[in-house]
Amino acid sequence: MELALAPADLAFRQAAREWLRANYPGEPRPNDGPAMREFDLEWQRRQWAGGWAGVSWPKEYDGLGLPVLQQLIWLEECALIGAPDIDSRFVAVNHAGPTLIANGTEDQKAFHLPRILRGEALWCQGFSEPQAGSDLASLRTTGVVDGDALVVTGQKLWTSFADLADYQELLLRTDPSVPKHKGLTWVICDMRLPGITIRPIKTLDGLSHFCEVFYDEVRIPLANVVGAINDGWRVAMSTLSFERGTAFTHGQVQLAAIAERLAGYLQQTDAAAYRPELIERLATARAEIAALRALTYTNAMRNSDLAVPGPEGSLVKLAYTELRQRLMRLALEIVGPGSDLPGITTATWDEDYLFSYTETIAGGTSDIQRNIIGERVLGLPR
């Protein structure tokens, strides 16, 4: 075992650092709307032009095909210098792209993959519905084959950036007569098709990143089906095999930076003198942040040789999101509400705190993560 980076990895880090220093977008990122879309796509375009796009994508699809350690190094360097997190680009780069690589037709791949890597298209994810949250496979939005099209009717919910996206990975019920996982289909939906209505949802932080999307007899060409009709659950799950446990790296670096900044701030004020428990909580949080990084690296390396990574990613997801919420609450107690102390992200401390309530729910709630850990990591009965 060794902690030090090998010369090749050190050289990689140095190259990443130098390129980022010269190219990262240092100006504040708009946190909503078309301006944010343009900012994020411009950053993706710059990475493509500089030869840094698609660190996890295979080389045959113009990605860099980096080993997982170098992916982690890249993500950490991006976060350390203050480049934007993947955020609105997440579905396209880390979800839809890999799904198409694994399951798409040659035409689908040829059309969409370059647009994703080159920063020409944003994607959103149409999975959750009002009656299908944690129990995703109970979704009801239907697709009926009619000639050369699927006719889609129903509603999706919690679709991040639906109002800014060009395409959507849409999961539909195409056969209501079979048990629920079996009658689903994964299809590429063009968000400009007639019959689609998008309503942004204002969340508790005052922003509107989530949307609800209504489909009224929307005709999607059958050529947009990825995999086969009624094979959508397998297609959706296949994406997981691309996830090597790097998803929260950027956020973890942010947490470390926030905690370090809070430590410096505490030392400058007298808050620690009359509230010594703040010191204890902050020290504990920094220990946990360090351990989370260690666990991320350990999991990523154990997973790198597996065809499908183990369920241990749920340990990181659960630990990270819960820790983020605790740290942001602590931050708010230390800096005070409405603080004029500049934060680490472009959001205010209040907004970062409020947003942390989203993270223990999105992408599988903490409670669902505990079920996965209990059943798939520990082998407890269902």
Binding site: M1, E2, R286, E288, R293, R370, L380
Partner: protein, 331 residues
């Protein structure tokens, strides 16, 4: 960077596991608890023959030539089985003696022919001795220095039992000239603290496993209680705590060995995370066992009590906090 166990390390863990299965299963731990020291004496002889007490010491100093991470792997297994006996003090004492030129003491300690107890000496008041009953030497941690002292130099020894019936705790006054005296340098304290973290990590894992095994077999309301989310989710949280402790232990041990700029920070983080996970998981184990959990016959309380004994060592969490509030050096 390489965070996967090497073949050598797999062999070490396998050999340790095999020997402990043989000589110190929980039934043997309970024999020691009842006052029969034979299992511990037998284990001690084998440990000496196998070179455990010089595992992380260079061969030129009489050791086995592995690293702190390998010692940590050993101590995780010792923690996992709440093995009694002064393994920690003896491995540290052997190192201090060997590096400090006390050849006779080093040879006896490395071979398992002598044991060392741990002593924490405050600036004022008597020292606290841990597992020093059969010790020939004491490794003494003062506020400024680390010393190796003949155990005979402790006077006025008085039993001061803590919670753990398997950790002998005494107070005593220490006098006389040390065999080896060194400034209280980071490496030896950091090594000791990493090994405490390793034992706590082993306890966090063991109590997770105890709970999960019980939750799979104990039935109520017609099903294994592990099917209930109230139990399942506790087990999941225990798994998170144990996984964080294990991962950070590796980072801490490697940082100290490689002398990284943030080694103090990493070691402190390992200590805090392991202490929290061990205490919390031991508590949860008792809770999940229900009524059985509070009986003497259930092993869960032995883990809880060992956590409380280990928490005292090297100043506990409070002593590690300052390192966690410093600027984090970054390369």
């Amino acid at each position: 960077m390489d965070l996967l166990l090497s073949d050598d390390q797999r062999s070490i863990v396998a050999a340790v596991t095999e020997l402990l299965d043989d000589l110190m299963p929980i039934e043997a731990v309970r024999r020691v608890l009842d006052g029969d020291n034979a299992p511990l004496d037998a284990l001690w002889r084998s440990a000496g023959e196998l070179g455990w007490f010089g595992l992380g010491l260079a061969e030129e100093h009489g050791g086995t030539g592995f690293d702190l991470i390998d010692e940590a792997l050993l101590f995780v297994e010792l923690g996992r089985r709440i093995v009694p006996g002064p393994f920690l003090a003896t491995i540290l004492a052997a190192r201090i003696a060997a590096l400090g030129g006390a050849a006779d003491a080093a040879m006896a300690l490395l071979a398992g022919q002598a044991r060392a107890g741990l002593a924490a000496r405050p600036d004022n008041g008597p020292a606290v001795l841990y597992d020093a009953a059969d010790a020939t030497y004491l490794v003494v941690f003062g506020s400024q220095e680390v010393e190796l002292l003949p155990a005979a130099m402790a006077s006025g020894r008085t039993d001061q039992p803590g919670l753990d019936p398997l950790t002998r705790r005494e107070t005593a006054n220490l006098f006389g000239e040390p065999i080896v005296s060194a400034p209280r340098e980071e490496p030896i304290v950091a090594r000791g603290s990493v090994l405490v973290s390793a034992m706590l990590t082993g306890i966090a894992a063991a109590t997770r496993d105890l709970s999960v095994d019980y939750a799979k077999t104990r039935e109520q309301f017609g099903s294994a209680i592990g099917a209930f989310q109230a139990i399942k989710h506790r087990c999941a949280d225990m798994a998170v705590g144990a996984a964080l402790a294990e991962a950070q232990l590796t980072f801490a041990a490697l940082s100290v060995t490689e002398g990284t700029e943030d080694a103090r920070f990493q070691a402190a983080a390992a200590r805090v995370v392991a202490e929290h996970a061990a205490l919390s998981n031991a508590r949860e184990a008792i809770q999940i066992y229900g009524g059985i959990g509070v009986t003497w016959e259930c092993d869960a309380h032995l883990y809880l009590k060992r956590v409380h004994a280990l928490r005292e060592l090297f100043g506990g969490e409070a002593a590690h906090r300052p390192a966690l509030l410093d600027r984090h050096p970054r390369d």
